[in-house]
């Protein structure tokens, strides 16, 4: 496994420069935290704030969420943001959905060596978070094909050249390949019985931006709010519908879930379906290609419509 590229220094310099020139109002990146996964999002508004910026293998958070929230609050501002290749895909989706004005965002890209999956080393000492190993690396990085942030406005550091070592969504293919329908139902019932409906999975997702989530709409009431297994299941199935053709597999929902429900198993399965049904479409890969569920074409497959 490769050590983290050291782009921290260059990023701090760049961030300072951008804020000094005044064309950018805020720079969003990561800073060190005292708690696992030992980094947290950081927004620099002044030049001096930039000293805290770092980048290492613990920088798991998808910062596009913070770009979105910042621009909703200050729609006239411009922001620069450090984006891993995978996170950048969600920016593309948001731009496609006209939720973000791409002109207002300066993407700072770099060659990403991969990040850890904090859940794999939960409870372990800080040492387990120091560098990437076969044990702690995030699944998504094993099949990543966007390591050098695409569509970056500024690229810092060296490009990396690491080929995928696993098939895309290998975990999901394996999981669904082995299980019968009733086994799957049991699995998900078990998993959702512990969901506490904290909505962290929804809140952390940059693509879950609805002002009022459909789970809170009650005219009519689609989903009941109390956290029973059935209601939870309904909430998640419904969320999977929202994510179809949009999820870019940054893995944030799964990371934040306090009770550890493997949510990517759902969304990646949906992505596989979309890829299969819509001519290999993958969300956030090509800003020119129209998202299949947002346009109508006579050639759309309709075999799934009853």
């Amino acid at each position: 496994m490769t050590e983290a590229v050291n782009i921290g220094e260059e990023f701090r310099k760049k961030a300072r420069e951008l804020l000094r020139k005044g064309e950018i109002n805020a720079v969003i990146g990561y800073k060190k935290s005292g708690l696992p996964p030992y980094s947290k999002p950081h927004i620099a508004l002044k030049e001096d704030d930039t000293d805290e910026f770092i980048f290492d293998v613990n920088c798991v958070h998808n910062l596009v969420l913070y770009v979105l929230n910042y621009l909703l609050e200050y729609p006239e501002d411009k922001v620069a943001v450090l984006l891993k290749g995978c996170d950048q895909k969600s920016l593309i989706v948001l731009a496609q959905e006209s939720k973000i004005d791409r002109e207002r965002v300066k993407v700072i890209g770099f060659g990403c060596p991969g990040v850890i999956d904090p859940r794999k080393v939960e409870g372990d000492e800080e040492d387990a978070h120091k560098s990437l190993t076969a044990e702690n690396v995030h699944d998504k990085c094993l099949y990543c094909d966007v390591r050098n942030t695409p569509q970056a406005d500024i690229f810092i550091g060296e490009m990396v050249d690491i080929k995928p070592t696993k098939e895309r969504y290998f975990r999901e293919r394996e999981f669904y390949g082995k299980k019968s329908e009733s086994e799957l139902l049991d699995f998900w019932k078990g998993a959702f019985s512990s969901c506490i409906r904290c909505y962290a999975c929804r809140q952390v997702c940059p693509l879950c931006y609805c002002d009022i989530c459909i789970s809170y709409r009650n005219m009519p009431q689609w989903i009941e709010l109390s956290p029973t297994t059935d209601n939870n299941m309904l909430f998640h199935v419904r969320r999977a519908m929202c994510m179809a053709g949009r999820c870019i597999d940054c893995g944030e929902c799964e990371r934040v879930c306090p009770v550890g429900i493997p949510l990517r198993l759902i969304y990646n399965k949906v992505s596989l379906e979309i890829e299969d049904k819509y001519d290999g479409y993958r969300a956030g890969m090509d800003s020119e290609r129209k998202p299949p569920l947002q346009e109508y074409s006579m050639a759309d497959p309709e075999d799934f419509i009853l």
Binding site: N218, M219, P220, Q221
Partner: protein, 280 residues
């Protein structure tokens, strides 16, 4: 269990009146005589009402305290619970918990000049107070009502309001609608409330004012009245907040150290100025 504080009493709808296209008034009576006998409340208090199965909602009791056999509530249709109310017919059941909260200190208003300002459905919590003042008219000084709505159609309790308007000997009533909301035969004012106050220049001497309406209107009226020399502690309002329990437990209506359901909903402007913020 000794007593379940969330346990409501059953009531029955005995009359439904359309006020505006989205607002209806319901007259309710207790199903059990025992409940009816034991029930008392004061002007400005509220309750948790519900159509069983559609969730509770908070409404102030919009009828005067001296109507002994029934109470009235006025409901604007917004979400699930209020929608269910709008589907009700005479004879249907609703549940009620209450009365909760504090009230307008009407006894303290005796001998004073009373001014009541309502906006839109904000007249509902004031209706009981207005009826009381009219009933005990001699005990109060001057009595003046200003009632404003977005447009003529949005005026609630139209018949009653026009009745007050015509009885100059009882109260001095001003009706207004926002610019653009008037109809060709509208005889009231076309104006927002603060300019009306500016024009009327009510005397702060021996006066109390009760305001209720949309948050922004309350704030602007309060500011105007203070400008006219009223002391913030004679300016009363009743605040609206999302509430679930009405008992000071669910935490939603908490602003600063105040729980609107327990310490309110009636506050003076002086009290509100002591809140950290988040009122309007």
């Amino acid at each position: 269990m000794v007593e379940n504080i969330y346990q409501p009493k059953m009531m029955r709808v005995i009359e439904v009146r359309d006020e505006t296209p989205t607002i209806k008034t319901f007259r309710l009576e207790f199903v059990d005589d025992e409940d009816r006998k034991n029930f008392t409340f004061k002007e400005g208090q509220f309750g948790e009402f519900s159509v069983p199965g559609s969730g509770e909602a908070t409404f102030c009791i919009a009828s005067p305290t001296f109507w002994r056999d029934y109470i009235e509530i006025t409901v604007k249709e917004v979400r699930r619970a209020t929608h269910a109310f709008h589907l009700l017919d005479v004879g249907d059941f609703v549940t009620f918990r209450g009365p909760y909260g504090n009230w307008f200190p009407v006894d303290d208003f005796y001998g004073k000049n009373v001014m009541v300002i309502g906006g839109g459905i904000g007249i509902a919590p004031l209706r009981g107070l207005i009826h009381r003042v009219i009933k005990e008219r001699k005990k109060f000084g001057d009595f003046c009502i200003i009632y404003a709505a977005r447009c003529v159609e949005e005026l609630v309790y139209k018949e009653e309001v026009y009745g007050w308007w015509e009885s100059d000997d009882i109260c001095n009533t001003t009706l207004c609608v926002d610019p653009g909301g008037e109809t060709p035969d509208w005889r009231g004012k076309v104006s927002f409330v603060p300019p009306v106050l500016e024009q009327m220049k009510p005397s702060p001497k021996n006066g109390v004012v009760v305001v209720c309406g949309p948050p922004i209107m309350i704030r602007l009226c309060m500011e105007k009245l203070v400008e006219l020399g009223f002391s913030p502690d004679v300016l009363y309002t009743t605040l609206e907040a999302k509430m679930k329990c009405g008992l000071g437990k669910c935490g939603r209506c908490n602003i600063g150290d105040v729980y609107i359901c327990k310490d309110g909903p009636v506050f003076t402007y002086a009290q509100i100025e002591g809140f950290p913020g988040e009122v309007w």
